[in-house]
């Protein structure tokens, strides 16, 4: 590093010396200046025409400039600026000035004067605009200096009357970014305020430009005002009228900005009263703004429509009456009022009849309308969402759906009203919109109860072939409230149909029924005999226990029975048996029930409440028990470990909440056990040649421990640095063991020396990484090693090995402390199921795409870590990196991988199976804990003593069950 630095320094010197050789000796003065500016100066002097100069400047701009030399460079640039006649070069210089002032650590206050000076003398409009931009940069770099700010604002005001739109734009931008609220630009500072007439504050100056002739300037003026708002300067209410006028501007960018402006004002002054033109009524400002923005939902430009629809969603203070108008579109046919289909559906429902919709004149208009009352062009908010949801651009529709959801969440009655419209959106042509509306309905479903006809429409979507849609819908049904038992029946029926059509939805459907049952116990109750097909007199045949549809029905019934104690009385004998079976096999779907004459279940249900705590307790106790093992060679220690591991594994299976933690502990203990076994043999006392076999097992154990530690480190989320330290500690032990074994087998001294050095480095890096954790590692292997460190680093390898062996055998078991939450990363491949007997046939040399669908849980950053491995029968294996877009995130800590894997192989004589599995890739340098701290420590350390970075160990952990796929590459036909 040092050498490298020296080289760089040397290089710079050489460059600086070179230049005066070429140039006149007078230039030697510049020697003291940093090389960069000198070089630039030379270049600029050499430039014979403007194109050359421009080239130099462009070239110059590509390289960064050091902080110290910025000022010099700026001086040279300015000097050249005054001489330059070509506009484009001056423009470039101006932009460079801005760029340079952004340099970190450089304070641009020294160039303010120069910049303002140039501004005063500049004639070209473009260059002026660029200079103002530069001033803006300078101004934002100096937020603490009010005088500079004031001067800049004055400059901006002065140039506001420029004829070129770009200059006015930049001036307004500058005012927006730097203008201050309460310092009116008065005459006493003789600023531009005076020239514009009297005392003006920044807002009125900006708002003057709302009526500029150039749409770009108008936009810039509104943007500047919004910028002021963002800087927490309160915008005056007078602006509102002007902003409203701009809503009908000819240019879409102006309208779009005006929508924002109106929105901002409506948020600032929601309760002000504004008059309605053409009448003497008055309404709240927020309502008025809401009406005006609603109007923009039918604007000619779709950008404005998107903006307006989005904005509507965040206007929560709007009054009820206005809000509901957005869903109102008065229907009329031949001047007679017609009811909407929604209204008709509702009416039919309330009158107890199903919608027939079969009659030709079923929507025959009823009462005659007074022509004067029909308001065609909706004043105010009328029908804004009806338009938005029917828009031709899906961006607008999505924005409208989102806005609906935001408004509905804050108002229950609005939620009720917008239900029909959302349900209609389930039929949109774009899947994204359908999906979004399903999600939205789920979010607001706490407010609403679905009517039967609505439920019917919702359920119709269950047959959608898109998996995302169906799953979103299942999720929705989990949260819906329905009103009648017919609804339950309908839902069950449709879900079973769905199950029949798409068997892969099994889990999702069951889960859905679980919630449906537990939400509506009283509605399920009257259905039970029918659902379980029991008969008062006859015994009915026992249904097939493996039938997913039957399980689905049982899940529904059992979950309802949980809060409905009278229900079990209706069960037949086999139902109880099936309950016991399902309670065991699908414990996450079937709740504990209080069944009559079933003591066991009673106990079960009682401990159900406190089961998590008791399991936690059990886990802790097991760990405590293990911690009593002081010495690895203690008698009975191995047995205790064995039992504990078994207990923990079982606990993990039973208690899903603790599965991660239990698994983690078990794996950790297994490492300890392996280590113990490897060390405790008496072989260490024997001569080397006599215990070859023993050596082999020990080597294997060391290798396995290493692998396990990587699993521990990367497969579990929620680890704290203490646990990571513990894991690294075990890894260190395993490495020590490996070193010892190497020493015993290998004869050559050289490899041994290098591995000893490597080990010492490992210890050092451990110390570096876990300085904070060292106090917790009292009495451990590392602790002892660190004590012996001076000796270790000086002694010979053989001696070192001896020391290591002794310490290793003496060191005690490091107690594991559990963090709050540990989750194991898991993956389940849903598709391919591995059950198909039909081989996937394809021609050799070509590829076949295999669809993979998997759920990942508790995987951090799956886009980078999750890979798909394909293992061919001949031992070939391919690792495929799925695209980032293949990952979806249906919930927290949950990811979904839906991707295609391309397979290819040479010809086979008959079909055979390949294995597909998911891998979790890791790299030891990428751990969250080690990487940041390691790099920082390394940087601040003295450069000479910096060890080469720890070789990053990269690898993969398989974390899903492999799935077998039957394939058959056929030979190509010639």
């Amino acid at each position: 590093m040092a050498a490298h630095l020296k080289k760089r320094v040397y290089e710079e010197f050489s460059r600086v010396v070179q230049i005066p050789q070429e140039e006149a000796p007078a230039k030697k003065l510049r020697l003291s200046k940093p090389s960069k500016s000198a070089a630039l100066h030379i270049d600029l002097c050499k430039a014979t025409n403007s194109t050359d100069a421009l080239q130099y400047l462009l070239h110059f701009a590509r390289k960064p400039v050091e902080v110290e030399s910025v000022e010099g460079v700026v001086r040279i640039l300015l000097e050249h600026y005054y001489k330059e006649t070509d506009n484009s070069v001056r423009l470039k210089i101006a932009s460079l000035l801005g760029l340079l002032s952004k340099t970190q650590g450089f304070s641009p206050d020294c160039i303010v004067d120069d910049a303002i000076n140039t501004l005063n003398n500049e004639k070209s409009h473009q260059v002026l605009a660029q200079l103002l931009d530069t001033l803006l940069v300078i101004g934002t770099q100096l937020p603490e200096s009010p005088t500079v700010r004031q001067r800049l604002i004055e400059m901006a005001c002065k140039h506001l009357s420029d004829t070129y739109f770009g200059v006015r734009n930049k001036c307004l931008k500058l005012l927006g970014c730097l203008g201050m609220a309460d310092t009116p630009l008065t005459k006493d500072n003789d600023g531009p305020g005076a020239s514009l007439g009297g005392v003006r504050d920044i807002q009125s100056i900006i708002s003057d430009f709302f009526g500029d002739q150039d749409p770009r300037v108008r936009t810039a003026a509104i943007k500047a005002m919004l910028q002021l708002h963002e800087r927490r300067i309160k915008i005056h209410e007078i602006i509102y009228d002007q902003a409203c006028r701009l809503l009908s501007d000819d240019y879409e960018q102006v309208r779009s900005a005006a929508v924002q402006m109106v929105w901002v004002l409506s948020q600032l002054y929601p309760e002000s009263i504004v008059p309605i033109p053409s009448s003497n009524e008055e309404i709240r400002l927020v309502d008025d703004a809401f009406g005006k923005i609603s109007h923009m939902v039918s604007d000619g430009s779709w950008m404005v429509r998107v903006q307006a629809a989005k904005t509507l969603g965040s206007m929560l203070q709007v009054s009820h009456h206005f809000l509901e108008q957005t869903l109102d579109k008065k229907l009329m046919s031949d001047l007679r009022r017609k009811r909407t289909a929604h209204e008709r559906a509702k009416e039919l429902f309330t009158s107890g009849e199903f919608s027939s919709g079969r009659k030709w004149a079923d929507d025959a208009p009823k009462e005659k309308l007074d022509t004067n009352t029909v308001n065609l062009i909706a004043s105010g908010a009328c029908g804004a969402f009806v338009h938005g949801l029917e828009d031709e651009m899906f961006e607008v529709r999505i924005a409208a759906v989102e806005a609906l959801s935001q408004l509905a969440r804050s108002s229950a009655s609005f939620a009720e009203k917008c239900l029909d419209f959302l349900v209609d959106m389930f039929n949109d042509e774009i899947e994204e919109v359908r999906l979004q509306s399903i999600h939205v309905l789920r979010e607001i479903s706490t407010h609403i109860t679905l009517r039967e006809d609505q439920l019917d429409t919702v359920l119709a979507v269950l047959e959608d072939s898109s998996r995302d849609i169906r799953e979103a819908l299942h999720e929705l049904i989990c949260y819906t409230n329905v009103s009648t038992k017919e609804c339950i029946q309908l839902a069950l029926l449709e879900l079973l149909k769905n199950l029949n059509k798409y068997p892969t939805d099994r889990n999702s459907v069951w889960k859905c029924l679980k919630f449906l049952g537990s939400r509506h116990p009283t509605l399920v109750l009257p259905l039970v005999p029918e659902l379980l097909s029991t008969h008062p007199y006859f015994d009915t045949p026992e249904p097939d226990m493996d039938d997913p549809a039957y399980i689905a029905v049982l899940v529904l019934v059992f979950n309802a029975a949980k809060s409905c104690p009278t229900m079990p009385a209706l069960f037949s004998d086999h139902t109880f048996r099936h309950y016991a079976y399902l309670r065991d096999s699908l414990s996450h779907l079937v709740p504990p029930l209080r069944l009559p004459g079933n003591g066991l279940d009673l106990v079960d249900s009682r401990c159900g409440s406190g089961s998590v705590e008791s399991a936690q307790l059990f886990l802790q106790q097991s760990l405590n028990r293990v911690s009593t093992i002081q010495n690895l060679e203690a008698p009975g220690a191995q047995d205790l470990l064995n039992f504990t591991i078994r207990d923990l594994q079982r606990l993990g299976e039973l208690q899903t909440e603790l599965a991660g933690a239990a698994d983690f502990c078990a794996t950790y203990l297994r490492c300890q056990l392996l280590l113990m076994k490897a060390l405790q043999e008496k072989l260490w006392n024997m001569a080397v040649p006599l215990c070859l076999k023993q050596n082999v097992t020990a080597t294997a154990a060391a290798q396995q421990i290493l692998e396990e530690t990587y699993k521990l480190e990367f497969l579990y989320s929620g680890l704290e640095s203490r646990q990571v330290a513990t894991i690294h500690h075990v890894r260190l032990q395993a490495k020590a063991l490996q070193l010892i074994l190497t020493a015993r087998t290998r004869q050559g001294l050289d490899p041994l020396i290098s591995s000893c050095e490597k080990f010492l480095q490992d210890i050092e890096s451990f110390q570096r990484l876990f300085v904070a954790e060292l106090p917790h590692l009292q009495d451990s292997f590392v602790d002892k090693l660190l004590e012996l460190m001076p000796r270790l680093s000086s002694c010979k390898p053989v001696e070192m090995v001896k020391i290591l062996l002794a310490t290793l055998r003496l060191s005690g078991l490091l107690q594991l402390r559990l963090p709050e939450q540990i989750h194991r990363a898991t993956a389940t491949i849903i598709e391919p199921t591995g059950e198909s007997d039909n081989p996937l046939r394809f021609t050799t040399g070509l590829v076949v795409a295999l669809d993979i669908d998997a759920t990942l849980e508790h995987v951090q950053d799956p886009q980078n870590t999750v890979k798909v491995q394909v293992l061919y029968p001949d031992g070939q294996s391919h690792v495929i990196h799925p695209k980032p877009s293949d990952f979806r995130k249906p919930g927290p800590d949950r990811h979904r991988l839906i991707t295609q894997v391309y397979l290819s192989h040479t010809a086979w004589t008959e079909p055979s199976q390949i294995e597909v599995r998911l891998l979790l890739a890791y790299s030891s340098s990428s751990t969250s804990l080690s990487s940041s701290s390691a790099s920082k420590l390394g940087w601040s350390d003295s450069i000479d003593s910096l060890p080469p970075p720890e070789a990053a160990v990269e690898g993969t952990i398989p974390f899903s069950k492999p799935v077998k796929v039957y394939i058959m590459p056929k030979p190509a036909r010639r």
Binding site: L331, A341, L389, E392, D424
Partner: protein, 608 residues
Amino acid sequence: MPEIKVTPLGAGQDVGRSCILVSIGGKNIMLDCGMHMGYNDDRRFPDFSYITQNGRLTEFLDCVIISHFHLDHCGALPFMSEMVGYDGPIYMTHPTKAICPILLEDFRKITVDKKGETNFFTSQMIKDCMKKVVPLNLHQTVQVDDELEIKAYYAGHVLGAAMVQIKVGSESVVYTGDYNMTPDRHLGAAWIDKCRPDILISESTYATTIRDSKRCRERDFLKKVHESIERGGKVLIPVFALGRAQELCILLETFWERMNLKAPIYFSTGLTEKANHYYKLFITWTNQKIRKTFVQRNMFEFKHIKAFDRSYADNPGPMVVFATPGMLHAGQSLQIFKKWAGNEKNMVIMPGYCVQGTIGHKILNGQRKLEMEGRSTLDVKLQVEYMSFSAHADAKGIMQLIRMAEPRNMLLVHGEAVKMEFLKGKIEQEFSIDCHMPANGETATVTTNPSVPVDISLNLLKREMALGGPLPDPKKPRTMHGTLIMKENSLKLVSSEQALKELGLNEHQLRFTCRVQLQDPHSDPDTLNRIYTHLKSVLKGYTIQHLPDGTVMVESIVIKVSSSAEDTSTKVLLLSWSYQDDVFFCFFFVSFLSLIFSKQWLRDSIDS
């Protein structure tokens, strides 16, 4: 004042045979040239004799514009161009140009071959007529001649439907044709920019209707079809060959795809297949979804929809069949209907309006026993559904378009008079613009107030700019001095010096003079001196000179003093000024008089 005249030959307070004559800025344009479906005699076509009694139309019309391919908008085109005689350009969009001849040919076949009419246009005439067509692109400005230009906007409604803006100088007319403001499954919504035409000629089919949301109807339709299929029934959908049929096809196709349904969908063949081919080609004219996905798959390449064969009607199992014609009055749809009518599991869905007298109308009104030819009766057991899929703008849509285009006048066509009356009232009330609704043959006249473009010399502009106050105040009118030169049909505003130079004229000075008498005892030079000093103190900032020849000059105003012969104390002031300084002189004179009658002056006089 220039006028724009609009005369509907058809579609004036009526639906059918759209044909509107517009004369604007000395140009005559025919908008659409359609036929009336309801008549079989001369009333079928517009009355071209309105334009000229005998002879060809070419010299009377500058161009013909066809908005879309529906026969009530283009059906009379070959008749007009070939039989009446018109050789000028005919403008239509590319899809219209492609599909229009198919429909015309079909129409010809039915009238000539089936009904046996003579004296009708021939296939060759259709071909000849189409040769005169000039295709248009959306938003492309086409220069018909030096002054007349036209521009097409997207109108929805059917594939290739366009709204046209016709512009002569600064006068313009927008004709909408038929349009739709709500997008459907295959087309987008009509769009126009804020072009502020003098007249907006809009259709008004649904002038008194505000329609329900499209989604409800679609959902109902799909639900009904789906339920029927699940029951194992057959569904018959009688359709007109083009337009709605494609929309419904897409609707069913995507539904089948989404729901993974397997039942076959058939489309009765015929001209539809040819037309479908064009739908595949003109993807740019369709809606966002189809445009976006056509790279993966063209939505008009139906996966589930196959061509229908007569024998399929007897196949067992569920199916959906689209068959023409739409009102069940003849042809394939009637044949299939007869076959399926007996089974209550089956269903017929009428997607549109049915004319009285057709079987479609009868069954929609609930008739369950139909009398067929040959005294046989047919029991109708199948379900009959009605589902309106219409692609015209409703009252709200029309208002929305007016809001988008901001016209100065409104003109309604293509609708019923009573309904128009209502909409007219609404438009006048909401937008406070004039609204016309001429009947066929009646002329609506609109006077326009076109702005006259004038070239201005840059120097003059800059000079006047420098004089004016600071920006921004761009919308405030500002007076400027210059000379307007009208030369060879162009107007030019230049400074007066330049005008003189250009026209080779000498500059003449116009001066006014006046005399003022006043009492002053001083001698002439003294009086002049006093005036001079006073003016100097009063009129600061003006150049005031005391010339040696005994005059005082204030700018261009000359003051001379002379005393009358008889009374030396009565002085006569001679004032002379040029006409440019007339305004200044008034100001000067007022201050001058005040000076003279001020006490100061009098006192000074008395003192001396």
